[in-house]
Protein backbone atom coordinates (compact mmCIF):
# COMPACT_ATOMS: atom_id res chain seq x y z
CA UNK A 1 0.00 0.00 0.00
CA UNK A 2 2.79 2.35 1.02
CA UNK A 3 4.66 1.47 -2.14
CA UNK A 4 1.60 2.28 -4.25
CA UNK A 5 1.25 5.66 -2.58
CA UNK A 6 4.93 6.39 -3.22
CA UNK A 7 4.53 5.55 -6.91
CA UNK A 8 1.42 7.74 -7.14
CA UNK A 9 3.25 10.63 -5.46
CA UNK A 10 6.17 10.22 -7.85
CA UNK A 11 3.87 10.22 -10.90
CA UNK A 12 2.05 13.29 -9.60
CA UNK A 13 5.28 15.16 -8.90
CA UNK A 14 6.73 14.22 -12.30
CA UNK A 15 3.64 15.28 -14.20
CA UNK A 16 3.55 18.58 -12.26
CA UNK A 17 7.18 19.20 -13.13
CA UNK A 18 6.54 18.45 -16.82
CA UNK A 19 3.46 20.70 -16.81
CA UNK A 20 5.44 23.49 -15.17
CA UNK A 21 8.28 23.07 -17.66
CA UNK A 22 5.82 23.27 -20.57
CA UNK A 23 4.27 26.42 -19.10
CA UNK A 24 7.65 28.08 -18.57
CA UNK A 25 8.78 27.07 -22.05
CA UNK A 26 5.63 28.49 -23.59
CA UNK A 27 5.97 31.69 -21.60
CA UNK A 28 9.61 32.10 -22.66
CA UNK A 29 8.74 31.39 -26.28
CA UNK A 30 5.89 33.95 -26.23
CA UNK A 31 8.12 36.55 -24.55
CA UNK A 32 10.92 36.06 -27.07
CA UNK A 33 8.42 36.25 -29.94
CA UNK A 34 7.10 39.48 -28.43
CA UNK A 35 10.64 40.90 -28.17
CA UNK A 36 11.35 39.88 -31.77
CA UNK A 37 8.09 41.49 -32.87
CA UNK A 38 8.91 44.74 -31.03
CA UNK A 39 12.39 44.80 -32.60
CA UNK A 40 10.98 44.19 -36.06
CA UNK A 41 8.40 46.89 -35.53
CA UNK A 42 11.02 49.40 -34.38
CA UNK A 43 13.11 48.56 -37.46
CA UNK A 44 10.22 48.73 -39.90
CA UNK A 45 8.37 51.83 -38.65
CA UNK A 46 10.85 54.13 -40.46
CA UNK A 47 10.37 52.03 -43.61
CA UNK A 48 6.59 52.35 -43.23
CA UNK A 49 6.91 56.12 -42.67
CA UNK A 50 8.99 56.49 -45.83
CA UNK A 51 6.49 54.47 -47.78
CA UNK A 52 3.57 56.56 -46.49
CA UNK A 53 5.54 59.67 -47.34
CA UNK A 54 5.89 58.55 -50.96
CA UNK A 55 9.59 57.77 -50.83
CA UNK A 56 9.28 54.43 -52.60
CA UNK A 57 8.81 50.85 -51.56
CA UNK A 58 11.25 49.01 -49.29
CA UNK A 59 14.31 47.78 -51.14
CA UNK A 60 15.37 44.14 -50.90
CA UNK A 61 13.35 41.07 -50.19
CA UNK A 62 11.53 41.02 -46.88
CA UNK A 63 11.10 37.84 -44.90
CA UNK A 64 7.57 36.63 -44.13
CA UNK A 65 7.84 37.99 -40.55
CA UNK A 66 9.22 41.32 -41.76
CA UNK A 67 6.41 41.56 -44.26
CA UNK A 68 3.85 40.92 -41.51
CA UNK A 69 5.46 43.50 -39.23
CA UNK A 70 5.49 46.07 -42.03
CA UNK A 71 1.84 45.28 -42.79
CA UNK A 72 0.98 45.81 -39.10
CA UNK A 73 2.87 49.11 -39.00
CA UNK A 74 1.15 50.32 -42.17
CA UNK A 75 -2.19 49.16 -40.80
CA UNK A 76 -1.62 51.30 -37.70
CA UNK A 77 -0.53 54.27 -39.80
CA UNK A 78 -3.53 53.97 -42.10
CA UNK A 79 -5.80 54.88 -39.16
CA UNK A 80 -3.92 58.14 -38.68
CA UNK A 81 -3.59 59.46 -42.22
CA UNK A 82 -5.77 60.37 -45.16
CA UNK A 83 -5.34 61.61 -48.70
CA UNK A 84 -2.30 60.55 -50.72
CA UNK A 85 -0.67 58.90 -47.72
CA UNK A 86 -3.61 56.54 -47.34
CA UNK A 87 -3.72 55.87 -51.07
CA UNK A 88 -0.06 54.85 -50.94
CA UNK A 89 -0.82 52.37 -48.16
CA UNK A 90 -3.64 50.88 -50.25
CA UNK A 91 -1.29 50.71 -53.23
CA UNK A 92 1.31 48.85 -51.19
CA UNK A 93 -1.19 46.21 -50.11
CA UNK A 94 -2.87 45.75 -53.51
CA UNK A 95 -2.10 42.21 -54.65
CA UNK A 96 0.14 41.55 -51.63
CA UNK A 97 0.43 38.26 -49.75
CA UNK A 98 -0.89 40.02 -46.63
CA UNK A 99 -4.04 41.05 -48.46
CA UNK A 100 -4.58 37.51 -49.77
CA UNK A 101 -3.99 36.13 -46.28
CA UNK A 102 -6.61 38.43 -44.73
CA UNK A 103 -9.12 37.70 -47.51
CA UNK A 104 -8.68 33.99 -46.83
CA UNK A 105 -9.11 34.57 -43.08
CA UNK A 106 -12.57 36.02 -43.75
CA UNK A 107 -13.69 32.40 -44.35
CA UNK A 108 -12.21 31.11 -41.08
CA UNK A 109 -14.46 29.04 -38.84
CA UNK A 110 -13.42 31.19 -35.87
CA UNK A 111 -15.39 34.40 -35.66
CA UNK A 112 -12.58 36.40 -33.97
CA UNK A 113 -10.34 35.58 -36.93
CA UNK A 114 -13.02 36.74 -39.38
CA UNK A 115 -13.52 39.95 -37.37
CA UNK A 116 -9.77 40.63 -37.20
CA UNK A 117 -9.42 40.04 -40.93
CA UNK A 118 -12.38 42.32 -41.71
CA UNK A 119 -10.82 45.04 -39.57
CA UNK A 120 -7.33 44.66 -41.10
CA UNK A 121 -8.71 44.76 -44.63
CA UNK A 122 -10.14 48.19 -43.83
CA UNK A 123 -6.78 49.36 -42.51
CA UNK A 124 -5.15 48.11 -45.71
CA UNK A 125 -7.60 50.30 -47.63
CA UNK A 126 -7.55 48.14 -50.72
CA UNK A 127 -10.59 48.53 -52.99
CA UNK A 128 -10.22 44.89 -54.11
CA UNK A 129 -11.42 43.78 -50.66
CA UNK A 130 -14.80 45.49 -51.07
CA UNK A 131 -16.85 42.50 -52.36
CA UNK A 132 -15.49 40.23 -49.60
CA UNK A 133 -16.22 42.88 -46.98
CA UNK A 134 -19.77 43.27 -48.29
CA UNK A 135 -20.21 39.51 -47.75
CA UNK A 136 -18.76 39.87 -44.25
CA UNK A 137 -21.39 42.51 -43.57
CA UNK A 138 -23.93 39.66 -43.63
CA UNK A 139 -21.90 37.45 -41.26
CA UNK A 140 -23.98 35.82 -38.49
CA UNK A 141 -21.62 37.32 -35.84
CA UNK A 142 -22.17 40.94 -34.83
CA UNK A 143 -18.44 41.58 -34.24
CA UNK A 144 -17.61 40.52 -37.78
CA UNK A 145 -20.40 42.66 -39.24
CA UNK A 146 -19.24 45.64 -37.18
CA UNK A 147 -15.62 45.22 -38.33
CA UNK A 148 -16.78 44.90 -41.93
CA UNK A 149 -18.97 48.02 -41.69
CA UNK A 150 -16.07 50.01 -40.23
CA UNK A 151 -13.80 48.83 -43.03
CA UNK A 152 -16.36 49.53 -45.75
CA UNK A 153 -16.54 53.07 -44.37
CA UNK A 154 -12.76 53.35 -44.50
CA UNK A 155 -12.61 52.19 -48.13
CA UNK A 156 -15.57 54.45 -49.02
CA UNK A 157 -17.81 51.72 -50.41
CA UNK A 158 -21.03 53.46 -51.50
CA UNK A 159 -22.58 50.16 -52.60
CA UNK A 160 -22.82 48.94 -49.01
CA UNK A 161 -24.55 52.10 -47.74
CA UNK A 162 -28.07 50.64 -48.03
CA UNK A 163 -27.19 47.47 -46.11
CA UNK A 164 -25.40 49.46 -43.39
CA UNK A 165 -28.43 51.72 -42.96
CA UNK A 166 -30.81 48.76 -42.69
CA UNK A 167 -28.60 47.06 -40.11
CA UNK A 168 -28.24 50.31 -38.20
CA UNK A 169 -32.02 50.71 -38.12
CA UNK A 170 -32.78 47.19 -36.87
CA UNK A 171 -29.91 47.09 -34.37
CA UNK A 172 -27.75 44.47 -36.13
CA UNK A 173 -24.90 47.00 -36.15
CA UNK A 174 -23.84 49.33 -33.32
CA UNK A 175 -25.44 52.69 -34.11
CA UNK A 176 -22.43 54.93 -33.61
CA UNK A 177 -20.15 52.70 -35.64
CA UNK A 178 -22.62 52.33 -38.52
CA UNK A 179 -23.37 56.07 -38.64
CA UNK A 180 -19.64 56.83 -38.61
CA UNK A 181 -19.06 54.38 -41.48
CA UNK A 182 -21.81 56.05 -43.51
CA UNK A 183 -20.40 59.51 -42.85
CA UNK A 184 -16.97 58.26 -43.92
CA UNK A 185 -18.43 56.98 -47.18
CA UNK A 186 -19.60 60.59 -47.49
CA UNK A 187 -21.24 62.12 -50.56
CA UNK A 188 -20.92 58.83 -52.47
CA UNK A 189 -23.51 57.33 -50.08
CA UNK A 190 -26.01 60.14 -50.60
CA UNK A 191 -27.82 58.76 -53.71
CA UNK A 192 -28.54 55.48 -51.86
CA UNK A 193 -29.57 57.34 -48.69
CA UNK A 194 -31.97 59.48 -50.71
CA UNK A 195 -33.61 56.39 -52.18
CA UNK A 196 -34.09 55.00 -48.70
CA UNK A 197 -36.20 57.96 -47.54
CA UNK A 198 -39.10 56.00 -49.09
CA UNK A 199 -38.23 52.72 -47.28
CA UNK A 200 -41.25 50.84 -45.84
CA UNK A 201 -39.54 50.49 -42.42
CA UNK A 202 -40.05 53.67 -40.39
CA UNK A 203 -36.78 53.11 -38.47
CA UNK A 204 -34.82 53.09 -41.70
CA UNK A 205 -36.58 56.29 -42.85
CA UNK A 206 -35.76 58.00 -39.54
CA UNK A 207 -32.09 56.97 -39.61
CA UNK A 208 -31.70 58.07 -43.22
CA UNK A 209 -33.19 61.50 -42.52
CA UNK A 210 -30.84 62.03 -39.60
CA UNK A 211 -27.89 61.08 -41.77
CA UNK A 212 -29.03 63.39 -44.55
CA UNK A 213 -29.11 66.13 -41.94
CA UNK A 214 -25.40 65.53 -41.34
CA UNK A 215 -24.11 64.57 -44.78
CA UNK A 216 -26.69 66.11 -47.12
CA UNK A 217 -27.26 69.68 -48.23
CA UNK A 218 -30.14 72.08 -48.90
CA UNK A 219 -31.14 70.02 -51.97
CA UNK A 220 -32.29 67.37 -49.48
CA UNK A 221 -34.49 69.81 -47.59
CA UNK A 222 -37.56 69.10 -49.74
CA UNK A 223 -37.36 65.37 -48.86
CA UNK A 224 -37.14 66.18 -45.17
CA UNK A 225 -40.03 68.65 -45.44
CA UNK A 226 -42.22 65.93 -46.95
CA UNK A 227 -41.26 63.66 -44.07
CA UNK A 228 -42.65 66.21 -41.58
CA UNK A 229 -46.07 64.69 -42.31
CA UNK A 230 -44.90 61.05 -42.20
CA UNK A 231 -47.31 58.76 -40.31
CA UNK A 232 -44.49 57.74 -37.92
CA UNK A 233 -43.65 60.28 -35.21
CA UNK A 234 -40.00 59.15 -35.07
CA UNK A 235 -39.64 59.98 -38.76
CA UNK A 236 -41.27 63.41 -38.31
CA UNK A 237 -38.89 64.21 -35.44
CA UNK A 238 -35.87 63.03 -37.48
CA UNK A 239 -37.02 65.20 -40.39
CA UNK A 240 -37.27 68.25 -38.12
CA UNK A 241 -33.81 67.51 -36.71
CA UNK A 242 -32.37 67.28 -40.23
CA UNK A 243 -34.04 70.52 -41.28
CA UNK A 244 -32.36 72.30 -38.39
CA UNK A 245 -29.10 71.67 -40.24
CA UNK A 246 -30.00 71.72 -43.92
CA UNK A 247 -33.33 73.60 -43.96
CA UNK A 248 -34.20 76.62 -46.10
CA UNK A 249 -36.70 79.49 -45.70
CA UNK A 250 -39.41 77.19 -47.09
CA UNK A 251 -38.47 74.57 -44.48
CA UNK A 252 -39.01 77.12 -41.70
CA UNK A 253 -42.62 77.60 -42.82
CA UNK A 254 -43.22 73.83 -42.62
CA UNK A 255 -41.45 73.61 -39.26
CA UNK A 256 -43.74 76.33 -37.85
CA UNK A 257 -46.68 74.07 -38.75
CA UNK A 258 -44.89 71.13 -37.09
CA UNK A 259 -44.83 73.10 -33.82
CA UNK A 260 -48.46 72.04 -33.54
CA UNK A 261 -47.69 68.31 -33.91
CA UNK A 262 -49.74 66.29 -31.45
CA UNK A 263 -46.62 64.32 -30.41
CA UNK A 264 -44.50 66.32 -27.97
CA UNK A 265 -41.05 65.20 -29.11
CA UNK A 266 -41.87 66.10 -32.72
CA UNK A 267 -42.96 69.61 -31.71
CA UNK A 268 -39.83 69.91 -29.54
CA UNK A 269 -37.61 68.87 -32.49
CA UNK A 270 -39.38 71.44 -34.69
CA UNK A 271 -38.81 74.16 -32.08
CA UNK A 272 -35.13 73.30 -31.84
CA UNK A 273 -34.78 73.32 -35.63
CA UNK A 274 -36.43 76.75 -35.87
CA UNK A 275 -33.92 78.01 -33.34
CA UNK A 276 -31.05 76.60 -35.42
CA UNK A 277 -32.48 78.29 -38.53
CA UNK A 278 -32.87 81.54 -36.54
CA UNK A 279 -36.41 81.92 -37.89
CA UNK A 280 -37.64 85.22 -36.45
CA UNK A 281 -41.19 84.64 -37.68
CA UNK A 282 -41.45 81.68 -35.30
CA UNK A 283 -40.84 83.98 -32.31
CA UNK A 284 -44.44 84.52 -31.15
CA UNK A 285 -45.39 80.83 -31.55
CA UNK A 286 -42.27 79.74 -29.68
CA UNK A 287 -42.93 82.25 -26.89
CA UNK A 288 -46.47 80.91 -26.49
CA UNK A 289 -45.21 77.31 -26.38
CA UNK A 290 -42.46 78.23 -23.93
CA UNK A 291 -45.10 79.54 -21.53
CA UNK A 292 -47.78 76.90 -21.97
CA UNK A 293 -46.51 73.81 -23.79
CA UNK A 294 -45.65 70.43 -22.30
CA UNK A 295 -42.32 70.17 -20.48
CA UNK A 296 -40.05 69.12 -23.41
CA UNK A 297 -41.76 71.36 -25.94
CA UNK A 298 -41.71 74.39 -23.64
CA UNK A 299 -38.06 73.88 -22.79
CA UNK A 300 -37.05 73.46 -26.46
CA UNK A 301 -39.17 76.47 -27.47
CA UNK A 302 -37.62 78.70 -24.78
CA UNK A 303 -34.09 77.75 -25.80
CA UNK A 304 -34.89 78.22 -29.50
CA UNK A 305 -36.17 81.67 -28.64
CA UNK A 306 -32.84 82.39 -26.97
CA UNK A 307 -31.05 81.65 -30.25
CA UNK A 308 -33.45 83.69 -32.36
CA UNK A 309 -33.88 86.78 -30.21
CA UNK A 310 -31.75 86.80 -27.04
CA UNK A 311 -32.84 90.32 -26.00
CA UNK A 312 -36.50 89.47 -26.54
CA UNK A 313 -36.08 86.33 -24.45
CA UNK A 314 -34.52 88.29 -21.57
CA UNK A 315 -37.40 90.79 -21.67
CA UNK A 316 -40.06 88.06 -21.80
CA UNK A 317 -38.39 86.05 -19.02
CA UNK A 318 -38.44 89.12 -16.76
CA UNK A 319 -42.25 89.45 -17.04
CA UNK A 320 -44.57 88.05 -14.39
CA UNK A 321 -45.81 84.57 -15.23
CA UNK A 322 -43.02 83.92 -17.72
CA UNK A 323 -42.69 80.42 -16.36
CA UNK A 324 -39.68 78.27 -15.51
CA UNK A 325 -38.55 77.45 -19.03
CA UNK A 326 -38.13 81.04 -20.20
CA UNK A 327 -36.30 81.83 -16.97
CA UNK A 328 -34.03 78.82 -17.43
CA UNK A 329 -33.26 79.80 -21.05
CA UNK A 330 -32.46 83.35 -19.96
CA UNK A 331 -30.14 81.99 -17.23
CA UNK A 332 -28.39 79.80 -19.80
CA UNK A 333 -27.88 82.86 -22.02
CA UNK A 334 -26.36 84.73 -19.09
CA UNK A 335 -24.01 81.81 -18.44
CA UNK A 336 -22.89 81.76 -22.09
CA UNK A 337 -22.25 85.50 -22.16
Amino acid sequence: MLQLLAVAAFVLASSSAVFLAVLVGRRVSLASREVERAELRARLIPVALELVDGEGVPSGKLSRREEEALADALGELSKLVRGDARARIAGFFAGSASLRHQLAALSSRRSWKRATAASRLGDMGSPTARPALRDALRDPERDVRAAAARSLGLVGDAESAGEIVEQLADGRLPRGLAAHALLQIGPAALPRLRELTGHPDEHVRAVVLKLLGHAGDSSDAARAEQALVDPAAGVRAAAAEALGRIGTAASARRLRVALGDRIGFVAAAAAEALGQLVDREAGPALAALARGGGYDVARAAAQALGRIDPDGLRRTAALDGAGPHLSEAADLLALDA
Partner: protein, 128 residues
Protein backbone atom coordinates in the same frame (compact mmCIF):
# COMPACT_ATOMS: atom_id res chain seq x y z
CA UNK B 1 25.68 78.88 -34.54
CA UNK B 2 25.49 75.59 -36.49
CA UNK B 3 23.18 75.04 -39.50
CA UNK B 4 20.97 72.76 -37.36
CA UNK B 5 20.39 75.52 -34.84
CA UNK B 6 19.21 77.91 -37.55
CA UNK B 7 16.45 75.53 -38.70
CA UNK B 8 13.01 76.41 -37.31
CA UNK B 9 12.14 74.43 -34.19
CA UNK B 10 8.72 72.76 -33.92
CA UNK B 11 7.27 71.31 -30.73
CA UNK B 12 4.99 68.31 -31.39
CA UNK B 13 2.83 66.92 -28.57
CA UNK B 14 0.54 63.91 -28.75
CA UNK B 15 -0.07 60.95 -26.44
CA UNK B 16 0.03 58.56 -29.42
CA UNK B 17 3.72 57.75 -30.09
CA UNK B 18 3.00 56.76 -33.69
CA UNK B 19 1.44 60.14 -34.45
CA UNK B 20 4.49 61.79 -32.93
CA UNK B 21 6.77 59.68 -35.13
CA UNK B 22 4.70 60.56 -38.18
CA UNK B 23 4.70 64.30 -37.43
CA UNK B 24 8.41 64.27 -36.56
CA UNK B 25 9.32 62.30 -39.69
CA UNK B 26 7.34 64.60 -42.01
CA UNK B 27 8.56 67.85 -40.47
CA UNK B 28 12.19 66.78 -40.23
CA UNK B 29 12.05 65.78 -43.89
CA UNK B 30 10.77 69.27 -44.60
CA UNK B 31 13.74 70.88 -42.91
CA UNK B 32 12.52 71.57 -39.37
CA UNK B 33 13.98 70.52 -36.06
CA UNK B 34 11.38 68.75 -33.92
CA UNK B 35 11.11 68.19 -30.18
CA UNK B 36 8.35 65.97 -28.84
CA UNK B 37 6.20 65.54 -25.75
CA UNK B 38 3.67 62.85 -24.90
CA UNK B 39 1.52 64.89 -22.53
CA UNK B 40 0.36 68.45 -22.03
CA UNK B 41 2.49 69.22 -18.98
CA UNK B 42 5.70 68.20 -20.75
CA UNK B 43 4.63 70.15 -23.83
CA UNK B 44 4.25 73.32 -21.75
CA UNK B 45 7.58 72.74 -20.02
CA UNK B 46 9.39 72.17 -23.33
CA UNK B 47 7.75 75.24 -24.85
CA UNK B 48 9.03 77.39 -21.95
CA UNK B 49 12.50 75.85 -22.10
CA UNK B 50 13.06 75.88 -25.86
CA UNK B 51 10.69 78.63 -27.16
CA UNK B 52 9.90 76.73 -30.37
CA UNK B 53 8.96 78.60 -33.55
CA UNK B 54 5.67 76.68 -33.68
CA UNK B 55 3.76 74.05 -31.67
CA UNK B 56 1.61 71.21 -33.04
CA UNK B 57 -0.58 70.07 -30.17
CA UNK B 58 -3.04 67.22 -29.84
CA UNK B 59 -6.29 68.35 -28.20
CA UNK B 60 -6.92 65.22 -26.12
CA UNK B 61 -3.79 64.62 -24.09
CA UNK B 62 -3.08 63.34 -20.61
CA UNK B 63 -2.63 66.09 -18.04
CA UNK B 64 -3.21 69.45 -19.64
CA UNK B 65 -5.17 69.15 -22.88
CA UNK B 66 -4.30 71.02 -26.08
CA UNK B 67 -6.69 73.91 -25.31
CA UNK B 68 -5.20 74.35 -21.83
CA UNK B 69 -1.63 74.25 -23.12
CA UNK B 70 -2.54 76.86 -25.75
CA UNK B 71 -4.16 79.09 -23.15
CA UNK B 72 -1.14 78.76 -20.87
CA UNK B 73 1.20 79.66 -23.74
CA UNK B 74 -0.88 82.71 -24.55
CA UNK B 75 -0.96 83.81 -20.92
CA UNK B 76 2.84 83.82 -20.62
CA UNK B 77 4.72 86.84 -21.94
CA UNK B 78 7.61 84.62 -23.04
CA UNK B 79 5.55 82.13 -25.05
CA UNK B 80 2.49 84.11 -26.17
CA UNK B 81 3.76 84.55 -29.74
CA UNK B 82 4.38 80.87 -30.44
CA UNK B 83 1.94 79.88 -33.20
CA UNK B 84 -0.16 76.80 -32.37
CA UNK B 85 -1.71 74.23 -34.69
CA UNK B 86 -4.19 71.96 -32.92
CA UNK B 87 -4.45 68.37 -34.05
CA UNK B 88 -7.87 67.08 -33.18
CA UNK B 89 -10.19 64.15 -33.74
CA UNK B 90 -13.04 66.44 -32.70
CA UNK B 91 -14.66 68.06 -35.68
CA UNK B 92 -17.72 69.68 -34.17
CA UNK B 93 -18.01 73.38 -34.92
CA UNK B 94 -18.00 74.13 -31.18
CA UNK B 95 -14.71 72.26 -30.69
CA UNK B 96 -13.07 74.17 -33.51
CA UNK B 97 -14.25 77.48 -32.12
CA UNK B 98 -13.07 76.44 -28.64
CA UNK B 99 -9.61 75.94 -30.16
CA UNK B 100 -9.57 79.38 -31.74
CA UNK B 101 -10.94 80.91 -28.54
CA UNK B 102 -8.03 79.34 -26.66
CA UNK B 103 -5.69 81.13 -29.03
CA UNK B 104 -4.82 78.49 -31.64
CA UNK B 105 -3.76 79.73 -35.09
CA UNK B 106 -4.97 76.74 -37.07
CA UNK B 107 -6.27 73.22 -36.64
CA UNK B 108 -6.07 69.90 -38.45
CA UNK B 109 -8.50 67.03 -38.00
CA UNK B 110 -7.39 63.43 -37.52
CA UNK B 111 -6.91 61.41 -39.60
CA UNK B 112 -4.71 64.02 -41.24
CA UNK B 113 -2.60 64.35 -44.35
CA UNK B 114 1.11 64.70 -43.48
CA UNK B 115 1.59 66.87 -46.58
CA UNK B 116 -1.20 69.17 -45.43
CA UNK B 117 0.45 69.47 -42.02
CA UNK B 118 3.72 70.43 -43.68
CA UNK B 119 1.89 73.00 -45.83
CA UNK B 120 0.16 74.55 -42.81
CA UNK B 121 3.38 74.71 -40.81
CA UNK B 122 5.14 76.29 -43.76
CA UNK B 123 2.30 78.80 -44.27
CA UNK B 124 2.36 79.93 -40.65
CA UNK B 125 6.15 80.15 -40.38
CA UNK B 126 6.32 81.85 -43.78
CA UNK B 127 4.05 84.62 -42.53
CA UNK B 128 6.33 85.48 -39.62
Amino acid sequence: MSDGERLPLVLAADDDPLILELVQFRLERSGYRVITATNGDDALRLAREHRPDLAVLDVMMLGLNGYEVTRSLRADEETRDIPVILLTARVQEADVSQGFDAGADDYLTKPFSPQELRARVQAILGRR
